[in-house]
Symmetry: D2
Subunit: 384 residues, 4 copies
């Protein structure tokens, strides 16, 4: 085994849901080790967060600027190698840019930026930095999502015709003032121009593109603010036109009362369809036209493309943390490969990178523009 | 028990799926009895169809004009009372009009007409006739659909916010030339201006209005012709704006390869959501915000509104024919009530009538118009 | 179409669950017509029950002895041809014997008798009568149960190794005094020596033998009386040894609180398993060893053995009444075939006959004996 | 945060399924850190296994005797604190005994021993050692299993009447010679006197006792050797009598072709039942008598007893590793608590200890004895 990648974290102090998730996911396979962090919004909270996690007190920083400076000054064998960014959306790009410039790889929460322009500027930064950049589109880390992608690529379903992707949550059915997770998401200064679409609609759009391999070219959308007092959208839907003639529908809501984390993808081609639901992620339905439907199971027969991303035999359920761990595991392996063979080209990653971030912002802006113009079809900027 | 209602049928000879369905549904509860019919597209086929069903040879007619004339001439106690129309769409209105004028009640397949104007003219005819008219929106006959409607009416879910209705089939994934069911549905002269939306999208729209009690006021739609060579739409989707601020999405497809008859309704209000799926019709999910979800079961606890429409104890599944039978049962009861108390007002029916037919055509025309204009929002004509 | 078979009924007056079920099932396909009956436990209730069903007053009889005598005296073309017996268990054999002797075919509720000896004497009567006899093991009428049987026969699963059959209900979780259905089932004089095992355990045992084609040769059982005050068993379980080395487990309970009508069969062979659940009867799982599981659906691909017993396209659910109707449909066809070709041998029926009734009683007695002797293995009498 | 507990491992080298599982589970929450091990069956493989895991070469031992000796000699702050034993069954007790005597806490795979006598002798050792001992009954670590236990304890279901526990796997449907996992399990010298029952039947029995709080007092069992050539049982079933009058059935099979890891518990009391299935572990059904069934979800409403064992919001699935991690997390906390407050009594643990191991062997021996005597009822030795 190679040495674990040394990881730093900004944001995600005790009590923040997503910080703990990143830490557990990174720890799962023993490929990364948290060595430092700046965890809170004040110097005190920032440092105490690190201490509570058992980190070396010398590496519990007051803020991320201090962290980048001091870590860069450490000797290479112990220096942080990769920075995980789990702050509210507005600070993703400034922190990521600084980290890249300081020579660190970056693993960033999504949405990557507040605007397409900002995302593009970061993409340029990533390209020139020579550093690795990963975006936390967790759901693409599920083994059977990768199996689904391979099934599409192999042509098993025939030419694709229709995709239905939905992401239904109910937790914002009430105003929820005072809930930390809810509050910053409702504040345009921190969350950006969109609520629900930026937060979960981008996951749904990414999943649809990730599995189909097609690109959303135009959208006709309606974003709604359902709960009184809310400034940003908490619900929405869009019709989608993809490259290659594929048609689609995207549903995203955070006011779907009683739903938990209902991300689901249905896809139909000439010869059959497939269905995957995040809440039961170890099952992948193949619905054949004229043949009985088959149920693929993580770890089970006929799932070669999923196998590298499964840790347990079939019937031992893996979940969200394991999917997240798959992103970190691949990312760590790329960092080590880059280090060991600096000139050699890396294989195409499955883990989403800055391109996915740019795509996400382009789609999000198209959704906002379409909705602003009463649902007229709006092209998604091509940002290859 | 009252005497069974004497039923005639036009269309639906041997081999036609929907004719047999109507006959089984009408027979199920012993409230109607098939006494005559004109079953085919030629005089010979028409008569032989009736003979094969064991009908009195004197009442196996060459065509519907003969049937209406001869039945009207029979003495009242044996005369046909109600005509079921299961011909292709284009002939629904002419036959229904003639039957009403000849004094018969009508039970008609959907869509009721080829256009909104035609549907409205029939509605006027129904009103002036004093006869009963039922439209075969079968799915509204399911016991738990009626339970769902009552839950909404009672306010249990709070104000409604979002509805998602979908109807996904895969049987037209291939061209299917030569398939009798597929052929006429693909021919505008017989099916009208729409394929998939007219055939199943109208069911979905009706279900959404039936359960929510809200009216679709505007639509933004895209109808697609996916399979090469097809003249009418075989796939589509629409964003919906309902009365009262409710927002919705409607999906309909006949090229969703591998799907069977996937009609499903999801509904979200302030306090919770509900979900019903036609392929497992004896289950109704209530998804509460902040409380565990509940599963209502046909025949089970807390389903008082469903109880009159259930024949068996919980766990003895009822299906499509029983739902259809519920429409016939209520319709027969109304006919007998009208007969016994000619002046008395009838209670509001659950079985869909001509108003549902007019609504369906108004919505269908809005969907077609919106799609024709690249998805612009199109108001649904108010036809109260 | 041939003339409907003329049906009489004993028992099952208004309010009795199972009588209405038989009537709906018999009416569904138009192959039988109810013409007479003796429906209640007093002459008045018996006659009024028939009137309420709209029967000819002259054929609403005071009791079954009158019915048999008067119907036998009618001219053949209008005479009852088949008698359905839906009385409590204790009267099945006396009525059936008299009906057979009077020349009528018999469709009888289960269990057929109160003892194996009684069942055997009836079997002899059936054989000598030349009349048809059917037993209401409804669940064998489900299309996918028949598909499952054919899959086993074809060897698709390889040699069978294990069968798990369960039938879990919860409706007797409470004493339920005063409930008509519960009361007679709790009375040994009416129900026989067993409660739960006789009522539903026999269904489970029949289903296991019907699908596997193997015979239960020995049982080790424990029958329980759980609810205080109950005289007959309301719960039980048994280990089973079948012919051919197949091993099995049978679970039956009427105190499984919260369960509805949970009959389920799981079967494992060398190459794969299958699973069928009565509450979702249109799905049949095939679980292959080393291949993805497949879901067969009623009306769907690869269900040739089920096809004759399905009325609707896939995705239009059929249920309990349709399964029951399949028994009546086949029974009616056999009666007509016998009439038209009196000497010709009939094909082996799928509808259970008197042999199934004898088997059921033999198994039931073995279960009771084993339980009485603290679970010692007890051979099932071979009654081929 | 307290310092992670320093963990050593014996067995479970690269390629061994269960070793990797323990390492991931222990790492998940950052409460334990693997510091040393003896991983293989030869000194070379043992050391190379540790190196491959990135351990300090000085702590990659040739065998467990060397490990215990050298670790005990290290200074306390870096010395191993707890030993995880993941070797084949036959060596559990000797290693555990030596580890306890050397002052280490022990986390042991199950079954704990080859016989009840051996298990009891180890129990005495544990009690006298003052060390903590945990047994890897992983399934008791699932959050909703703990919720189920609390629901029973609270009396929500009323007095319990019936429990059905099953554990169905299919992976041994074929001989599988050469498969490392299968081989040792088929060898009595390594696996002990039972195959399927020892391997998974003990999990099922533990789950039933864990949730119900009742004790299995007697069993009537049949254990089968289905696949030709197999020496130990690969299938079995038992009727169970629990303390308090509860009745039960236990099914265990490794030849249930097509099944994955089908552990499931159903439980029925006076007022309702519950159902939990390991393959979908984030759902717990409550089936009320006379009220609609409820679905509890991990992280969702009304799951207070599960909450401490859930890491993610509802709808973000957790699985087998997270359940396993819960055992390690609680175990680590107990070790730290013991260290910090040496005299203070610890709260009753949820993590199974040596008592569960003794119970498991007592039940297993009763199952074997009953089966050996053709299923006669056999008392389970009381080993309180």
């Amino acid at each position: 085994m190679t040495t674990p990648v040394r990881l730093g974290m900004v944001g995600g102090g005790p009590g923040a849901f997503i910080g703990a998730v990143h830490r557990m996911a990174a720890a799962l396979d023993g490929q990364l080790q948290l060595v430092c962090g700046a965890f809170g919004s004040s110097p005190e909270r920032s440092r105490s967060g690190g201490l509570a996690l058992g980190l070396d007190p010398a590496r519990c920083y007051a803020d991320w600027t201090q962290m980048l400076a001091e870590e860069a000054a450490r000797p290479a064998p112990q220096r942080m190698e990769c920075l995980t960014i789990v702050t509210p959306n507005a600070s993703h790009v400034p922190i990521a840019r600084a980290a890249l410039r300081a020579g660190f790889h970056v693993f960033c929460e999504k949405p990557v930026a507040l605007s397409l322009a900002e995302a593009r500027s970061l993409a340029a930064e990533v390209r020139s930095s020579g550093r690795q950049f990963a975006l936390a589109h967790t759901y693409s880390g599920y083994a059977l999502v990768r199996q689904a992608r391979e099934l599409v690529r192999s042509g098993a379903l025939g030419a694709l015709r229709k995709v239905i992707v939905e992401y239904l949550q109910g937790w914002l059915s009430e105003p929820l003032a005072g809930n930390k997770q809810a509050d910053w998401r409702a504040d345009p200064a921190l969350a950006g121009p969109s609520g629900c679409m930026g937060d979960i609609g981008t996951h749904a759009a990414h999943l649809a593109e990730f599995v189909t391999g097609a690109r959303i070219e135009a959208v006709s959308a309606e974003l709604n603010r359902i709960v009184p007092g809310r400034v940003l959208d908490d619900d929405g839907a869009a019709l989608l036109r993809f490259s290659g003639g594929l048609r689609g529908v995207l549903l995203a809501s955070q006011i779907a009362a009683g739903e938990e984390n209902g991300l689901a993808l249905r896809l139909y081609g000439e010869r059959g369809g497939l269905e995957w639901r995040q809440q039961e992620p170890n099952s992948l339905w193949l619905k054949w036209h004229g043949q009985p439907a088959q149920l693929l199971r993580a770890g089970g027969p006929a799932t070669a493309a999923a196998a590298p991303w499964v840790r347990l035999p079939a019937g031992h359920p893996e979940g969200y943390l394991e999917a997240f761990g798959n992103l970190y595991r691949e990312f760590a392996a790329r960092i080590r490969a880059l280090e060991q063979h600096p000139g050699a080209p890396l294989p195409q990653p499955a883990v989403p990178g800055i391109e996915a971030g740019v795509r996400g912002m382009a789609i999000l802006e198209a959704l906002l523009t379409s909705s602003h113009h009463n649902g007229r079809w709006q092209a998604v900027e091509d940002c290859a």
